[in-house]
Subunit: 381 residues, 2 copies
């Protein structure tokens, strides 16, 4: 019976308290006691999103809410600018195409962030663009796109909205929705929210709600207007995923108690420590621009297959990290440090990485990565 | 701290074993150990559906899979016949309309079942009909529609498929998908499957898969062909709702061990006992045709508001049953007996009903309903 450790960028570990809360006897989704749960959740989500507007909740994976973000704001033959700097950027384009929304692709080298200037240029070239679709954090490359600057760029253009996938970003680092003019902000339950997969969330700005009024893409399950109307009565439009919602109530209370500021500071420190360890081991980040606090994406050293690092960690040491996806497969590996993760989880992962790199023939001094991490985590305490 | 009892038609109670299984530490949805879980689930779902074909799994409520059933088989301007004999029948029509599928409504009095002759007549009148959409069991009225006969009617018409919502039916009574020629069969996790809400399932016949090839409705998250291809590699197309899937593996193993035959026999007996108790109390069923084994829908006695029965049971005695929906609101109440429910749960609900009816002024002999139920449940044992 191998002890297992989960350090992948979602699902992330779940606290035993939350697991037990979700194991409570089920309650009925139309009962008054569930309405009370939902009222608390609505308030907690507004805190998390830093928005005055309602945050919608769907029983779905994050992709479902991404689909809804397109189908509720745009219409067939509208044009969307899609920032493609990784696997999840590509998904925005696939969703648009499925619904007949025209796509202008803005391709960004994997590992790089889009520049606001490049987006501005596309808007100039294609005045028909009605939405800019981007990731706050492109999970496949570990890069943060500059959504604050993009919000600035678009805030005074009434005809263009900013649609942001923050599935692996919200709750990790600051993304104040209202202050930064993020018009549609999507996240999921299984990353910083420390829950199992199965819930997806969307916040919309007043400007985005105006787009909803004229959108002509067909939708039913992911109908934002209907869900909002229902939520305002503390109900889901369809059957809520009750057990996950009970967990959600718990983690939102925890985050509010902890405060977003401390939550962001923790992620920042864990990320800094991991990146210092990586440097101490002579490894390079895959993320050339804006490496995120959610995970550390590392280039596999010359001659070593990134997938082998992942496989050996999992099979011999019980540690799950993530490899590269699509064009990055084999070239990188990714250690996540978001959600219910603390200092010694990061230490453990770095120690295991040292061992595995040695075994694969990339010789490092055992303890040298851990030392660098400890200095960041505790040296300045 | 009031002890609570859940006797509503979904979510239904969850066994403590399953609750604890779902409280296990989360595993990664792309890890080999999750692939093993999914392989077991795929096999178990085929047993449950009594089909040789793949059963698709979505992180969503049942409505999501209903939407997919339409959008993956039909195209805008196609025509669907919608049997409307309750709230969920109406939902088929709403989904079709959202996607530009034309609807021919076949309205059936609430509490009655559609007749195969009425469906045949509509097919004659409207040769353009490509799909017949129906509930196996209309949860809002407690009536079973004759889907076996409808399957017979349609099986030799290559241009028409039978789309069946079995959300509160599959696993309750026999619905052998392949044998009965049910082309698209939808269910959810929170009824007979004894799980929290959050998973939806769809089985498709070979004929339905032919329809998928030509369907032009837009879809992305609920893309059946994509999900099937992914499942065949023991993965979900998007992030699986891992904790619910762990529970699903458990309940499917349990149902297979118990056998479908015994599961159906249990529901049949619980239903028969509840209906005998209702008769002994001088009450009448709301379901005039084919009352289902999933729940017993009871007409509120003259002068008594059905919602009051529900409210008093919940607030004073901690028992959650369901009232009537839409046009049946106040006129009926519904006691469910599906899933993780056994004889003494039914006895408890009947006893409480006796007490509450007396309190509301409908005088019954205490114990008379219970006695009738006991005679059915144990008299012939």
């Amino acid at each position: 019976m191998k002890k297992r450790y989960l350090m992948a960028p979602g699902p992330t570990p779940i606290s035993p308290q939350t697991l037990l809360a979700m194991a409570s006897p089920i309650i009925h989704h139309r009962a008054p006691e569930f309405a009370e749960v939902l009222a608390e959740i609505r308030q907690g989500l507004k805190y998390l999103y830093q928005t005055k507007n309602e945050v919608l909740i769907f029983a779905a994976s994050g992709t479902g809410a991404m689909e809804g973000a397109i189908t509720n704001t745009l219409s067939p033959d509208d044009t969307a600018l899609v920032v493609r700097g990784g696997k999840f950027g590509e998904r925005w384009g696939e969703i648009c195409e499925a619904y007949g929304v025209k796509v202008v692709n803005l391709d960004v080298e994997w590992g790089r962030a889009v520049t606001p200037a490049a987006v501005a240029e596309q808007l100039q070239l294609h005045p028909e663009i009605k939405a800019v679709c981007v990731q706050a954090h492109e999970t496949s490359t570990g890069v943060k796109h500059p959504v604050q600057e993009l919000g600035e760029l678009l805030k005074d253009r009434p005809g263009v909205i900013l649609i942001v996938d923050a599935i692996s970003a919200l709750g990790v680092y600051p993304l104040p929705m209202d202050e930064w003019h993020l018009d549609v902000l999507v996240t999921g339950s299984q990353k910083a929210l420390m829950l199992p997969p199965g819930l997806a969330f969307v916040g919309l700005s007043d400007k985005a709600w105006e787009f909803v009024k004229t959108s002509r893409c067909p939708k039913f399950y992911f109908n934002f207007a209907k869900e909002k109307k229902s939520l305002e009565k503390n109900q889901g439009a369809y059957t809520s995923a009750v057990s996950l919602m009970i967990g959600l109530k718990d983690v939102l209370a925890f985050i509010q108690q902890e405060t977003l500021e401390k939550t962001f500071a923790k992620h920042w420190l864990l990320s800094k420590a991991t990146k210092a360890a990586v440097a101490a081991l002579g490894l390079e980040l895959f993320s050339k621009d804006n490496p995120s606090e959610a995970l550390t994406a590392i280039q596999a050293p010359a001659g070593i297959d990134g997938q082998q690092v992942v496989k050996l960690l999992r099979e011999k040491y019980g540690i799950t990290i993530a490899g590269g996806q699509a064009q990055a497969k084999g070239k990188i590996f990714r250690i996540a440090h978001m959600g219910y993760i603390d200092s010694f989880d990061v230490i453990m992962a770095i120690a295991a990485l040292e061992v595995v790199l040695n075994e694969l023939g990339y010789k490092v001094e055992l303890g040298s990565g851990v030392r660098a991490a400890e200095q960041i985590l505790f040296g300045e305490a």
